[in-house]
């Protein structure tokens, strides 16, 4: 238990030290909401559009997506800190400690997930003032956020453990984040995509997080909520296990 809480503590402590990082990751979604959301919300202010977005204005439609994307990108960045730890040697300090590696990496994922969920909450609360989301939905949305954060922290860390430099990780991150974002239903319903692209949306974990959050915040969703939870939980367990396994096997060779 000591190891899990200590590693989580370390990740959170590092996060609170880096003020510029905090501001940056909160500023990013705000830019989306204001410059992207407000603009389109005006442009799409006619009945047919509202019908397409489940009967709400576009800005409200956008909120679950922005929250999910915030959690997704920041937790994926977990991997970045693993690479930094390799570079600066801190990882060796963990590898040579008489502790369970799975617990150490779990603690790390826990800490990183906490910080990214925190950012999600901040965005959510800010949006609550300017849109028509269901504020009571925040609690179940957080649970989805936890599953989402764990899943992508694990994915980010798994990539990082197999990679040697920040540039390579940045490349992977850029290649992965943009498609996942646009193919998640965050900005428009998946149903408006051509069939062959829709397939990619269906295998995208982010899709189910966006859909589940939308269910609780707006009351509309494309898939049954049980399915969203089910798929996210399974993915979470799978990727968490992969991350733990890879860290268990990590050496300095």
């Amino acid at each position: 238990m000591n190891v899990i809480t200590t590693m989580a503590y370390r990740q959170i402590r590092r996060f609170t030290r880096a003020r510029s990082r905090i501001i940056g990751t909160i500023l990013h979604p705000i830019i989306w909401i204001t410059f992207f959301g407000l603009g389109w919300s005006r442009a799409l202010n006619f009945p047919e559009a509202k019908a397409l977005f489940g009967g709400v204005d576009y800005l409200t439609y956008l909120v679950p997506g922005i929250v999910a994307i915030t959690i997704f990108t920041t937790s994926f960045m977990s991997g970045m800190s693993v690479i930094i730890d390799k570079d600066y040697g801190f990882l060796k300090e963990i590898l040579v400690a008489p502790v369970s590696r799975s617990k150490a990496i779990f603690g790390r994922i826990l800490g990183d997930s906490t910080t990214s969920i925190l950012r999600g909450i901040i965005i959510l609360l800010m949006c609550a003032f300017i849109t028509h989301i269901n504020i009571l939905g925040v609690i179940p949305v957080l649970i989805i956020g936890v599953l989402l954060a764990f899943t992508f922290s694990s994915i980010g860390i798994s990539f990082a453990l197999k990679m040697n430099n920040l540039e390579g990780f940045g490349l992977v991150m850029n290649m992965i984040t943009l498609p996942l974002m646009f193919l998640s239903g965050a900005f428009y319903p998946i149903s408006s995509l051509p069939i062959w692209i829709r397939i990619f949306a269906y295998i995208n974990p982010l899709t189910y997080a966006v859909d589940g959050m939308r269910y609780f915040l707006i009351g509309k969703s494309q898939f049954p909520i049980v399915m969203d939870f089910g798929i996210l939980s399974v993915l979470c367990v799978v990727f968490l296990s992969i991350g733990m396994y890879l860290f268990e096997k990590a050496t300095i060779e």
């Binding site: 503590y9 402590r13 590092r14 030290r17 040697g89 990882l91 060796k92 300090e93 040579v96 008489p98």
Partner: protein
């Protein structure tokens, strides 16, 4: 606490990357001993430490630490060792205190006990006034001291120091030597250190292994190693310019008494077993022959002389820019 005679037993240890980084190395370190690996860049020092400390798997051979096999029981080994790595492994974003705190918690300490340990270790390395500063702002010497403090938090029985004073100024270096000596005295710790500074090995270590190209080429106490090439050198300079007749005469007399005498650039060079005993004798002879000696000096053989004797090159010879580049390249590619 487990009882053991040898803190470390290494048998036929080999590690192969593209080539052999460590090549059939065997040695034993007694409990409470300070043991040094002395060798040039790329000799295989760090690779050996990485294997002993369970970070790398040997290609072949076996290692026991306090009786535990490093491959079969890595966590038992990890429990009783402390390490200061060659390259810093501190968390630069956190404070000195937080670094020690995290380390202590990971090793199972908590509460007041941990707090006391942290404070006493910070005091030990004289960083108590920098406890709450972020490590990023520390000088190289402060980082090293903090790492030493961290490696001691969990009371290890065996401590590994990989080039503990590399890149530090002489003053900081002698500080760290002092810590190392105190660790041995106060905690009866077994210490394995690597270095390419001869003075460091010489002044700290009970026994030294000289390593080059992945092989141990000599092992023993400082005196044992030096006795491999034998002798002290005594140098004599005479007052007046001597003619060749005179020189011949003096050489004859010196050879009669000591053997192994020479003249190089007008200075007489005598190889003796023990300079301290031979110098008075030289004065007796000088008195008898009414020689006028202007200067006497003597030199004990250095470990570098031993290294040159064994390998035909100096330890420092390969320490230039070329190797720094290699070190950085190596660091980048790690893990």
């Amino acid at each position: 606490m487990k009882k053991y005679k040898y803190a470390i037993e290494v048998k036929n240890l080999t590690k192969k990357f593209e080539t052999f980084a460590v090549n059939d190395v065997s040695f034993k370190i007694k409990k409470g001993e300070i043991f040094a690996f002395l060798g040039p860049n790329g000799a295989g020092k760090t690779t050996t430490i990485n294997m002993i400390t369970t970070l790398l798997r040997p290609t072949s051979g076996s290692i026991k630490v306090a009786g535990y096999d490093t491959v079969k029981h890595p966590n038992d080994v990890r429990n009783i060792i402390g390490i200061v790595f060659q390259d810093s492994t501190l968390d630069r974003e956190l404070t000195a205190y937080e670094n020690l705190y995290i380390h202590g918690r990971i090793y199972g300490y908590r509460g007041d006990d941990l707090k006391n340990r942290i404070n006493s270790m910070l005091k030990f390395v004289e960083l108590e006034n920098h406890a709450n500063k972020v490590v990023k702002t520390f000088s190289g010497g402060m980082k090293r001291r903090l790492e030493i403090a961290r490696s001691l938090i969990h009371n290890p029985e065996i401590l590994f120091l990989d080039e503990p004073t590399i890149g530090l100024d002489p003053q900081t270096r002698s500080h760290i030597w002092e810590y190392i000596e105190r660790m041995k005295k106060e905690y009866n710790m077994t210490i394995f250190l690597t270095t390419h500074y001869m003075e460091e090995a010489e002044s700290l270590a009970d026994r030294i292994a000289i390593i080059d190209n992945g092989k141990i080429i000599a092992i023993g106490t400082v005196d044992e190693l030096k006795s491999m090439i034998g002798n002290d050198m005594i140098y004599l300079k005479f007052a007046n310019n001597l003619d060749s007749e005179c020189v011949k005469n003096i050489l004859n007399i010196l050879n009669e008494h000591f053997g192994n005498s020479n003249i190089i650039n007008g200075i007489f060079e005598i190889r003796v077993k023990n300079a301290n005993e031979s110098i008075p004798k030289i004065f007796e002879i000088a008195l008898k022959n009414s020689w006028k000696i202007l200067e006497v000096s003597y030199r004990k053989p250095t470990l570098n002389d031993v290294f040159i004797h064994l390998t035909g090159k100096s330890i420092r010879e390969r320490g230039g820019n070329f190797d720094m580049k290699k070190i950085f390249a190596k660091r980048r590619g790690m893990l």
